[in-house]
């Protein structure tokens, strides 16, 4: 927090004015934009949530907490919340486990019993990252085709050719959610492989070599050296993926039948807010959902901050 210009006695008034003008000038535009487009909608959400506002032109009427009461009995909404909660646990768990595995192979899986990376690790890193640069909505359309239920689907085509039953990746309510999860993991892994690779590259090589001399095998190297030293990066990844899990929209909205179907088996919070606001035009009710989800998100943030306090290993 070092201050800008050194102050000269006697000119403090003029200096102070120039400095204040500069600070105001630099902050005015970003703060104004932020207040108008981010803070004011959040603030308004609370008041709209207590109205029965329906339709763009209708006049909203105050109904108190009625929307929240209705929300309690809204089975679809709670299914959506449940799906997000499940994603909140499974998406980070699977993505981080797979990414750690590959990052370890790339950086320490080669010859020398776990000290050097495998041959061609640069190539793998580039390819694994591909899905990350594609927009989610595009990936959703892509996998809609991959998962097609008939012989024209990339996955079901070979299954049918082999004489097996085709899998209803997106049409079977028991399977669709797992297809969503699979695509989310497919897209996310590459980024974390790169992130962890960078983290592993910053671990001094001598540490691995010392552990090797002490007779550590590959698994021990990973569990006793790599993982503890990488723990902080893993936590960063956990929080990123947690946010991503709460934020899922495009994949569900574009890829699944009935935008969250079949039979609400894949719907998520973002989809329910959007559906109620912009398909049913229940603005009050959708805002009430937003308010409830706001508190869920606060709870998640507090929990994440609490859990992420762990001793840091210096090296």
């Amino acid at each position: 927090m070092a201050d800008g210009r050194p102050r000269r006695p006697g000119r403090a008034g003029r200096e102070g004015f120039v400095r204040a003008r500069f600070i105001t000038g630099f902050l005015a535009a970003p703060v104004l934009l932020y207040l108008v487009y981010v803070i004011s909608p959040y603030a308004q959400a609370f008041s709209i949530a207590m109205t029965d506002w329906r339709g763009v032109s209708a006049a909203p009427r105050f109904v108190g907490l009625a929307n929240f009461g209705r929300l309690l009995g809204d089975g679809v909404f709670w299914r959506a919340v449940g799906h997000n909660a499940l994603l909140l646990v499974l998406l980070p768990l699977l993505t981080l486990a797979i990414a750690l595995f590959f990052a370890f192979l790339l950086n320490a899986g080669g010859q020398g019993g776990g000290v050097a990376g495998v041959w061609g690790s640069g190539f793998y890193r580039v390819v694994f990252f591909f899905p990350q640069v594609l927009a989610v909505a595009i990936v959703a359309v892509l996998f809609q085709q991959v998962f097609r239920p008939d012989g024209s689907g990339m996955l079901n085509g070979p299954l049918i050719a082999l004489g097996l039953e085709p899998v209803g990746f997106l049409s079977d309510p028991g399977v669709a959610f797992w297809s969503i999860l699979a695509v989310l993991v497919w897209q996310a892994v590459g980024f974390y492989v790169v992130l962890f690779s960078a983290g592993m590259a910053s671990i001094p090589r001598e540490m691995f070599e010392a552990a090797r001399i002490d007779g550590a095998g590959r698994v021990q190297l990973f569990a006793r050296v790599t993982l503890p030293l990488l723990w902080e990066t893993v936590q960063v990844g956990w929080i990123y993926l947690g946010i991503a899990a709460l934020d899922v929209f495009a994949l569900v909205w574009v890829m699944t039948a009935e935008h969250g179907g079949p039979d609400h088996s894949t719907t998520v919070m973002a989809a329910e807010v959007y559906r109620n606001a912009f398909q049913y035009f229940k603005f009050g009710y959708a805002s009430a959902m937003g308010v409830v989800l706001f508190f869920f998100t606060v709870a998640f943030a507090v929990l994440a901050l609490r859990l992420s306090r762990r001793e840091r290993i210096e090296f």
Binding site: V38, Y124, N156, W186, V254, L293
Partner: protein, 306 residues
């Protein structure tokens, strides 16, 4: 220390030779795992490219058949008929303006918050950072009305209301600020004060010190956050869906357009054009990424470590 000396003396090619010669069974297994994931990543994309030059019958005949002739007219239909070219141009314009605005305003705010002491500094900083935790959709309904009401303003209204690119750009900027301010202010805090001090003594103004000294010094951070913002804004689907209605199809961004073509493909039965459109949306990203992959990977990881 032996190993370090040894490493220095080994030339790259010699090291590679040695590595190949000593490929053990475990290393082989590593490759199997890595190749499996490579296949999982590459095959859906290649399959899409393949389908984009097939005929309708070939697409529905058998998923893995090769096209008899390469039907590039699918691409022409998607580009012009399905407006993929227009959508892509819209995306480029909106993301370019959005990212530029985000970086300009975000770095200004981050710099002042990181390096100047004044009343309310902490409060403003926390206000920005608190936005990190909340997904856009929580306030989607009021946001729609905020933009609609701004559209009724005299003079500027027609430029920033619903169904305008300007409105979309401003919303992108506002929602990118929390992340940008958070990471850039962390970056600005680490910069040394001495150079700025010397410039002040030479009579440079506050804003000159920022634009000519501090901003160039923060370059690694700025590059990395720029990449994050480009990817993030390119990725947007829900905000344009709310702000650009069906009446403003000429302003739609690529994600919206492709999703719409996918829905329409069912009615028009033009699946080969859909695959061509998909390929067109994927290919430029892969090319740009492959060219800049070193910078992108380095940039994204420095951003996360700060």
């Amino acid at each position: 220390m032996v190993s370090r000396a040894e490493r220095v003396t080994l030339s790259r090619s010699a090291a590679r030779e040695r590595r190949r010669a000593r490929l053990g069974p475990l290393s082989g297994l590593s490759h199997v795992a890595l190749i499996v994931w490579t296949v999982l990543v590459v095959v859906p994309i290649v399959w899409t490219f393949l389908a984009s030059v097939k005929s309708e019958d070939e697409i529905f005949g058998s998923a893995w058949s090769l096209p008899a002739t390469l039907r590039w007219d699918n691409w022409a239909r998607a580009w012009a008929g399905a407006h993929v070219g227009l959508y892509m141009l819209n995306s480029v314009v909106v993301v370019a303006l959005g990212t530029f605005g985000t970086m300009l305003l975000g770095s200004m705010a981050a710099y002042v918050l990181a390096r100047y002491r004044f009343r309310g500094n902490r409060a403003i900083y926390l206000l920005f950072v608190s936005g990190l935790a909340f997904p856009v959709y929580l306030a989607l309904t009021p946001l729609f009305f905020v933009v609609r009401n701004l559209g009724a303003l005299p003079l500027v209204g027609p430029l920033i209301g619903l169904d305008t690119r300007g409105g979309l750009v401003l919303v992108y900027i506002a929602y990118s600020l929390p992340f940008t301010v958070f990471f850039l202010s962390a970056f600005f805090r680490t910069l040394p004060q001495a150079v700025a001090e010397a410039a002040f003594v030479d009579g440079a103004s506050h804003s000159r010190v920022f634009f000519q000294i501090m901003l160039p010094m923060a370059r690694p951070g700025v590059v990395s956050i720029t990449i994050f913002n480009i990817l993030g804004q390119w990725n947007q689907y829900q905000i344009p869906l709310v702000l650009l209605s069906g009446q403003a199809k000429d302003k739609w961004v690529l994600t919206q357009g492709i999703a719409d073509i996918s829905t329409a493909a069912g009615y028009d039965a033009d699946w080969s054009a859909l695959f061509a459109a998909l390929s067109m949306a994927i290919l430029p990203m892969l090319i740009v990424y492959t060219i800049f992959q070193r910078q992108i990977q380095a940039g994204l990881t420095t951003g996360s470590f700060k």
